[in-house]
């Protein structure tokens, strides 16, 4: 175990809460002089936005000469990008931090992500963590680590605050590249911790987004996923989300665009029309959360089921096979059986091909924590099961529509002669990988439906 160095001198006069820097404080960088590159490992929990931010950090570190390794390959640096959206994610984040700290006693352990915001002080007091970096400073982790290895004393609080500082993704852990256009949210839905941990809604400049798109395509990505905390709220110097989307679609190149997850408010006809564009994939993850207007109001969701219905119907009247997926929370405080039945009816009616079902769990610091009439765990379990079963029925119905039809499939991986990928409509497809390569798009005729439950997929053959 390396000796810890007391760094509470000098700098702490400016930054009194200096608890965030602990382990790995030796000044002899593990790889210095050996000619070997330093090794960095990443662990990511939570949402697509976190994934994107990790991908961008991977690009940063590899450009700076670090070697990307797994946790069990003695990394010199471990970055844990945490999530705090549910109690389970807190637990997972904690476990991952412990694993990361155990991976190599001397490793610099950087903890970032939403948990770093929500439990900053607690984490800063943990001896197995070197740095705790809040979300708005996450993009500068490389500078922090570099400074550390060259003996510079730099506290995370000294890093610039910029949620859009990320470089375009070059080397990613995935085939698709996410593109962050927005951060934060000030909707304050009663169950959600995000406004507290990601701060208010801010949008990236149009030029910076487009520049990032161009570079990402140049870096070889064939699919871009537009990401943010609440991307429908994009607004930059008079440009709304639709304006930005149109500009992204106009960027020359052979690529396709997906939209990650959207809140169901404020779409006009123009948004629907944009899906005529060949590059824009006909799938939306539109978060309904509940099929009961009363529950939606208690959640502080500012739309009602009828408005949601109008959106779904508007899309499907133009694009009949349009794929909608959603999030549903069951057992929200005060949810009656009748209100839950309304949710089931909505899930059936909107024929979501996938429902991400969350059992409501109390999130400390959210408004819902203080709501009355919490639903017993047993009831939540039963409701969650019902939604999942219905979701599986829906999925089968939805995927069946595609048998006999064709899809352009982006190949994500090839395993033992089988290509795996997703069609335009975000339907999972597998087919024989004769002469095909990863990260290419092939037209596939869909022949059959296989698998069970959420693992259902379409089989096909290349045309």
């Amino acid at each position: 175990m390396q000796k810890k160095r007391n760094i509470q001198t000098g700098a702490d006069q400016k930054f009194p809460s200096f608890g965030g820097v602990r382990r790995g404080l030796s000044f002899s960088p593990p790889s210095e002089g050996s000619g070997e590159a330093r090794r960095v490992a990443f662990k990511t929990l939570g949402c697509r936005l976190n994934q994107y931010e990790t991908d961008a950090l991977v690009t940063d570190f590899s450009s700076a000469g670090y070697q990307l390794v797994e946790l069990n390959q003695s990394p010199d640096v471990v970055v844990v990008n945490t999530c705090t959206v549910t109690n389970q994610s807190d637990q997972k984040s904690r476990t991952t931090i412990s694993q990361a700290a155990r991976a190599n006693n001397n490793a610099v352990v950087v903890v970032t992500g939403c948990m770093a915001n929500n439990f900053k002080e607690k984490l800063e007091n943990q001896d197995n963590i070197t740095f705790v970096v809040e979300n708005n400073r996450k993009s500068s982790i490389l500078s922090l680590v570099d400074a550390h290895f060259s003996g510079e004393i730099l506290h995370p609080n000294q890093l610039p605050q910029d949620v859009f500082r990320y470089e375009p993704v070059r080397q990613s852990l995935h085939t698709r590249s996410a593109l962050k256009i927005q951060d934060g949210c000030d909707n304050f839905c009663t169950f959600c911790i995000i406004p507290m941990v990601r701060g208010r809604a801010v949008s990236r400049s149009v030029e910076s987004v487009l520049e990032n798109v161009r570079k990402t395509i140049d870096n070889g990505f064939r699919e871009i996923v537009i990401t943010g905390v609440n991307i429908g709220r994009y607004e930059y110097e008079g440009h709304r989300f639709e304006d930005l989307l149109e500009k992204i679609l106009e960027v020359p190149g052979d690529f396709r665009v997906r939209i990650s997850s959207l809140e169901p408010d404020g779409f006009g006809d123009r948004f629907v029309e944009l899906f005529q564009h060949q590059k824009l994939m006909p799938h939306l993850h539109l978060c309904l959360q509940s099929g009961s207007d009363k529950t939606l109001l208690r959640m502080r969701r500012m739309y009602d089921v009828d408005q949601f219905r109008k959106t779904v119907n508007r899309f499907r009247s133009v694009y009949p096979d349009f794929n909608f997926t959603t999030d549903i929370i069951v057992g929200f405080p005060g949810e009656t059986e009748e209100e839950f039945q309304e949710t089931l009816a909505a899930v059936r009616e909107f024929n979501f091909s996938h429902v991400h079902t969350f059992k409501y769990s109390v999130r400390k610091g959210t408004r819902a924590e203080r709501l009355e009439n919490h639903v017993p765990e047993k009831v939540k379990n039963a409701r969650s099961l019902q939604v999942r079963q219905l979701s599986e029925e829906n999925r089968m119905k939805f995927l069946k529509i595609f048998v006999g039809k064709e899809q352009q499939v982006l190949i994500e991986k090839i395993v033992q002669g089988t290509a795996y990928g997703y069609g335009e409509s975000y339907v999972p497809v597998r087919f024989r990988a004769d002469g095909v390569q990863k990260n290419t798009v092939r037209r596939v005729k869909l022949l059959d439906l296989k698998g069970e439950g959420e693992n259902m997929y379409l089989t096909g053959e290349i045309i």
Partner: protein, 226 residues
């Protein structure tokens, strides 16, 4: 060559000193802070924190966009977590303010020509006072539902013909009974902009009544407190 980042020198602008506490009823008071250090639109809210407490709460801004003080209206909730602490604040104490947040507001062009109906329960009147102070020429009707007539916070600021007080527990209101019952008997011009603010049960009932009267959900804006 490695380039290090210079530390940012940032003075924390989010702390405000309480200037005055205006007691409006036994339970309700307004917290007067110095002028806002940010621009906001009438109807938006802030999040308020007390030093040393990990929790914060949202409060609609009670003052107008051009007023000399930033003000919020707070009702102390029995057995509440935050409001009993707010209640204990004194002039000179520090609070932490973040914001402004939210989309609950009116468009400038509508403010000049539109017809507005504001429907509030209890402290849900807060954003409407801000709107009325910000747009003095506004063509509005404010329907305020409370239990007792003394909860008509700063009533004198609204002209009599625009302020309708519905009291459910005494007979001193413009209308004696529940706000929603009053609403059922109302007629409104077709293009009215509706703004609803307060507790979710009232908002749910009011929405149903307005939809039954043929108004579109898109012309009804809601701000739910709890």
């Amino acid at each position: 060559m490695m380039s290090f980042i210079k530390p940012e020198i940032k003075i924390d602008e989010s702390f405000y000193k309480v200037e005055e506490i205006r007691q409006l009823t036994d339970e309700t008071f307004s917290l007067k802070l110095p002028k806002a250090r940010f621009a906001f639109k009438a109807g938006q809210h802030i999040s308020l924190g007390i030093k040393g407490d990990y929790q914060s709460r949202e409060y609609s801004i009670y003052s107008g966009a051009n007023d000399e003080n930033l003000e919020v209206l707070v009702k102390e909730v029995e057995n509440g977590y935050f409001t009993p602490k707010l209640r204990k604040l004194k002039a000179g104490d520090l609070v932490e303010v973040h914001g402004p947040f939210g989309k609950f507001g009116i468009e400038q062009k509508d403010a000049e020509t539109g017809k507005f109906v504001f429907i509030a329960s209890g402290t849900g009147i807060a954003p409407f006072r801000s709107m009325v102070r910000t747009y003095p020429e506004l063509d509005y009707t404010l329907i305020h539902g409370v239990r007792y007539s003394h909860e008509a916070y700063d009533k004198h600021e609204y002209t009599n013909d625009r302020y309708i007080l519905c009291t459910s527990r005494d007979k001193k209101g413009t209308y004696n009974g529940r706000l929603t019952n009053y609403l059922k008997g109302c007629t409104f011009a077709p293009k009215t902009h509706f703004y609803l603010c307060g507790n979710s049960d009232m908002i749910f009932d009011a929405l149903e009544i307005l939809k039954d009267k043929g108004f579109e959900r898109d012309q009804i804006h809601c701000e739910v407190y709890f």
